[in-house]
C-alpha cells in the first residue's frame, strides 16, 4: 500500500514563516526516512489570519523542499488551476519535473476559497460553478496541449494561443511550422517539456461524483478527502466506468484513486481525541458554517442516521470514518477498513488539525510510520 503525506502548516494560527520553513525541512527529511512516497503541498492565499495557512505556490515550495530528499516525490494538493495562467502552470510544473528528475505528481483543484480565487481571475468564482468548471477544464486542456504538442495551438472560451497579432519581422526565426506566410505567428512551442513522458501523473482533488466522472474520462487520478466509504464506492465506480469507456479497457476498481484522511495518532485514544478536539471545532467552523449542507455531501442517505446533522464536527467525522484518530491500533483498524471496503491501495495523511504543536504533529507522524505503516507494506 502506498502512503503519502501533507505538510503541517499551523492552519488557523498566524505563524512565523521562519519557523515554518525550518519545520517543513525537518518534516521532509523525516518523511524521506519513514518511507512515504509523495509529499503533498496545498495552495492557499492571503492567510493573514492563519486561514488557510499554506504556501501560495506549492510548485515553488515543492522545488525547494525536494532538495531535502533524493527519493520523495512532490505533489500539489492542488494547483488551483482557475487562479493561474495555464501556460505558467505548464512551464513551472515541467521545470520542477526537471529539477527533481521526474519526481513530480501534478495535483490540480478547482479551488475552495473563492475569496482568494477572484483576486486572480473573475471567472474562477465558484459562486458560478459552470464557469469555474469550464475554466478549470480548459486550463487543463491548455496545460496538456503545451506539454504534448511541439507546435501548440488552442482556441477555447477563455483562451486562444497564440494570441493573434504577432507578425515575425526577423527572417532568422521564421519557421513554416510556426508562422503563416507573411510571418504571422500561428503556433508556439512551450518549454521545457516535462521530464516524465508524456507528462507527470495528474491527480484531481475532488469529492463529487461529477468530478470523479470528469477525471475518469480524462484519465486522471483522484484524491478524495471528505466522503464516507459509501460515497467512495459510488464515486470510484463512476470514475472506473468513465475511464474504462474513455480508454476502451476494463479499468480495475480503485485504479489511480487515493483516499485522504485527517490523521492523528497518540499513545492513548483519549489523548488523541483531547489533542485534536479544539482544532476540530475550528476546522468545522472554517469548512462550513452550514454543517447540514456539508454533512449531507459527506455520507450517503443509507449511512446517515437521524440526529447525525446535530453532531459536532469531530463526532460526525469519526462516526462516518472521515478521520483516522486514535492509537496506532485503532488507526490501523481504520486503514484496514478502507482496504477491505473499497480495496484502497493509496492513502494520504492530512495533518492540519489547528492548534497542535509541531512536536505533537511529528510524534503522531512517527507513530504512524513506525507502528501503522509496516502492517500494510
Amino acid at each position: 500500500m502506498r502512503f503519502d503525506v501533507t505538510l503541517y502548516t499551523h492552519v488557523g494560527e498566524p505563524y512565523s514563516w521562519e519557523k515554518l520553513v525550518d519545520e517543513a525541512e525537518t518534516q521532509v527529511k523525516f518523511a524521506d526516512q519513514a518511507g512515504f512516497t509523495t509529499f503533498w503541498l496545498a495552495e492557499h492565499h492571503f492567510a493573514w489570519d492563519g486561514w488557510y495557512n499554506s504556501a501560495p505556490n506549492p510548485i515553488l515550495l515543492g522545488t525547494r523542499l525536494s532538495r531535502f530528499s533524493d527519493r520523495l516525490r512532490f505533489g500539489q494538493c492542488g494547483v488551483v488551476l482557475p487562479d493561474w495562467h495555464p501556460l505558467r502552470v505548464a512551464e513551472d510544473v515541467a521545470l520542477m519535473d526537471h529539477f527533481t528528475k521526474g519526481r513530480v505528481d501534478f495535483g490540480i483543484a478547482r479551488g475552495i476559497d473563492t475569496r482568494a480565487s477572484i483576486q486572480f481571475n473573475p471567472n474562477a468564482d465558484r459562486r458560478d460553478q459552470g464557469t469555474n468548471y469550464q475554466l478549470f477544464s480548459e486550463s487543463l486542456d491548455v496545460i496538456m496541449g503545451a506539454w504534448t504538442r511541439e507546435a501548440f495551438q488552442h482556441e477555447g472560451r477563455f483562451y486562444k494561443f497564440p494570441v493573434p497579432g504577432w507578425v515575425e519581422s526577423n527572417p532568422m526565426v521564421y519557421d513554416p511550422d510556426y508562422h503563416a506566410p507573411g510571418g504571422e505567428l500561428k503556433a508556439m512551442g512551450v518549454f521545457p517539456k516535462p521530464f516524465q513522458k508524456p507528462h507527470p501523473p495528474i491527480w484531481q482533488m475532488a469529492d463529487s461524483l461529477d468530478s470523479h466522472r470528469f477525471a475518469g474520462s480524462r484519465g486522471l487520478g483522484v484524491f478524495c478527502q471528505s466522503i464516507s466509504i459509501g460515497k467512495i464506492k459510488e464515486a470510484w465506480a463512476a470514475h472506473r466506468e468513465a475511464m474504462s469507456q474513455a480508454q476502451h479497457r476494463d479499468v480495475a476498481f480503485g485504479e489511480k484513486l487515493c483516499v485522504v484522511r485527517p490523521t492523528y495518532v497518540a499513545d492513548t485514544y483519549e489523548q488523541a481525541i483531547e489533542d485534536v478536539s479544539w482544532g476540530s471545532k475550528q476546522l468545522g467552523k472554517w469548512y462550513s458554517h452550514n454543517p447540514v449542507k456539508a454533512y449531507s455531501a459527506m455520507a450517503t442517505e443509507d449511512e446517515l442516521d437521524p440526529g447525525d446533522f446535530d453532531l459536532p464536527w469531530l463526532d460526525f467525522q469519526r462516526k462516518h470514518g472521515l478521520v483516522c484518530i486514535g492509537t496506532p491500533d485503532t488507526v490501523a483498524e481504520d486503514v484496514q477498513r478502507l482496504r477491505e471496503s473499497v480495496n484502497c491501495n493509496h492513502m494520504t495523511l492530512f495533518l492540519n488539525f489547528p492548534g497542535l504543536t509541531f512536536e505533537k504533529t511529528m510524534k503522531s507522524l512517527s507513530l504512524f510510520a513506525e507502528k501503522v505503516m509496516p502492517r500494510f507494506l
Partner: protein, 376 residues
C-alpha cells in the same frame, strides 16, 4: 567590487533540459566556491527555436539553483512584470526570500520579447504606450503587498481586493479587512519577505530616463548594453532623481549595477576567436537594425568615424560593451569600467552563443582565480 554572474543556457541551440539543469548547478557550485556574491536569472518563454533559451520562470529556477549554495544571493534579470499577475510575484518572491532566509535580489524588467509577452496579457503589448503604465502599476502593487498588512489598491489595471466578496463566516471577520456588513475591503498578502521591508529591487534598464524613473520609485537599476559615457549620464540622472526623492544627497553609484557579456580564455586571441561568431549571431537575432542600436549604446562623443562599419563584435569590444579576453585584458577592461564610471557592482552575462559548457566553466574559473581577486 561586487561580482555576480548568470548561468549558461545554450542560447540558440536545441539543447537538452536534463543536461542543462546539471550544468547550471555545476556553474553555481563554482560561483559559490569562487567568491561570487549573486546569481542572476533571466525570464524567457517559448524558445522552440532556441531563441531566447533561458528558463520561463527565474524565481523558480532560482529556487532550485540556490540549493547549491548556502551563501550566494539569487536574483532575476528580470522578472518580466507585465507578463505576471502582481500578487503572484509578491507571493513568490517573498516565499523564495523566506526559503533562502533573505538571499533574494528582486530584479524586474518591462520585457524585450513581445511575442511572449502578449501570450500572458494583451495590454502588455510593447507596440502601444500602455505597457509603461502597466509596469508601474504592477510594481506598485508588489511593493504595497509587501509593505502593507492590509492591502487596498485601485488602479487602471488592478483593483484589490476584487469587489464582491462578502464574508459570511464569523470566524474570518476582522475590522481591518472587512466592513461592518462583511464586505472584504483589504487583503493581507502572505508571506511577507524575510528581508525587511523587502528585498533590494533592481530594474533592468538602459536609458537615462528609465534610470531616473527607477530612482523615483525607490529601486535600484542594472544596465547592460550602454557604454561608459552612457552609464555616466544614466547614473547621474539616477543620482539626481534619487537625491531629490530622498531630500538628501545619495552617494553616487548606490543601488546601481552593470551586467556585461563576459568570456575569458587563456589568451586574448583565443577568447576573441571563441566569442566572435556567437556575439554576432546574438545581435542578428535581437535586431534587424543593428546600426540604430549602436547609436543608442554609445554616446555621440564616443562614436568615432568608421565605428558603424565595424563588425558587431569589434564594435562591442572597442566600446567596452563586452568583456572578452585573457585574464589580463579583461582585468584592464574592468579597471576602465571602474575608473570611468565608478561601477561598484558587475554581473557577468555568460550567454554568448556557440560556446561549450567546458569553455564556459573555464572562463568562470579564470574570472574567479585570476580576475576577481584583483578587485577585492
Amino acid at each position: 567590487m561586487r561580482f555576480d554572474s548568470t548561468p549558461y543556457y545554450h542560447v540558440g541551440e536545441d539543447y537538452d533540459w536534463e543536461t542543462l539543469v546539471d550544468e547550471m548547478r555545476e556553474e553555481v557550485r563554482l560561483m559559490d566556491q569562487g567568491g561570487f556574491t549573486g546569481i542572476w536569472l533571466a525570464e524567457h518563454h517559448f524558445h522552440w527555436d532556441g531563441w531566447y533559451r533561458a528558463s520561463p520562470n527565474p524565481i523558480l529556477l532560482g529556487t532550485d539553483l540556490i540549493g547549491e549554495s548556502d551563501r550566494l544571493r539569487v536574483g532575476q534579470c528580470g522578472t518580466i512584470l507585465p507578463d505576471w499577475n502582481p500578487i503572484r510575484v509578491a507571493e513568490d518572491i517573498a516565499l523564495l526570500d523566506q526559503l533562502t532566509r533573505g538571499r533574494v535580489d528582486f530584479g524586474v524588467a518591462r520585457g524585450i520579447n513581445n511575442r511572449a509577452t502578449i501570450q500572458f496579457r494583451e495590454e502588455a503589448d510593447r507596440r502601444n504606450e500602455e505597457h509603461r503604465a502597466l509596469f508601474s502599476e504592477t510594481l506598485e502593487v508588489i511593493l504595497s503587498a509587501w509593505r502593507d498588512d492590509a492591502l487596498t489598491y485601485e488602479g487602471e489595471y488592478f483593483t484589490y481586493p476584487a469587489p464582491g466578496w462578502k464574508e459570511t463566516n464569523p470566524l474570518g471577520l476582522d475590522s481591518r479587512f472587512h466592513r461592518d456588513d462583511g464586505e472584504l475591503k483589504a487583503l493581507g498578502v502572505t508571506p511577507k519577505p524575510f528581508q525587511k521591508p523587502h528585498p533590494p529591487v533592481f530594474n533592468m534598464v538602459e536609458s537615462a530616463g528609465s534610470h531616473a524613473y527607477s530612482a523615483k520609485m525607490g529601486i535600484g537599476a542594472m544596465c547592460f548594453s550602454i557604454s561608459h559615457g552612457r552609464i555616466k549620464d544614466a547614473w547621474r540622472a539616477y543620482n539626481n532623481a534619487a537625491s531629490e526623492a530622498a531630500g538628501r544627497d545619495i552617494p553616487y553609484g548606490q543601488n546601481l549595477a552593470v551586467m556585461r557579456p563576459t568570456y575569458i580564455a587563456d589568451t586574448h586571441e583565443q577568447a576573441v576567436a571563441d566569442a566572435r561568431e556567437g556575439t554576432n549571431l546574438l545581435a542578428s537575432w535581437i535586431s534587424t537594425d543593428p546600426d540604430k542600436i549602436r547609436k543608442i549604446m554609445v554616446s555621440e562623443e564616443e562614436l568615432e568615424e568608421g565605428d558603424l562599419d565595424l563588425d558587431w563584435f569589434d564594435f562591442q569590444l572597442k566600446h567596452d560593451l563586452i568583456l572578452v579576453g585573457s585574464p589580463e585584458t579583461v582585468s584592464e577592461q574592468i579597471e576602465r569600467l571602474e575608473s570611468e564610471t565608478g561601477c561598484p557592482h558587475l554581473a557577468f552575462f555568460l550567454n554568448i552563443p556557440l560556446l561549450s559548457f567546458q569553455q564556459v566553466m573555464h572562463s568562470l574559473e579564470l574570472a574567479a582565480t585570476k580576475v576577481m581577486p584583483r578587485f577585492n
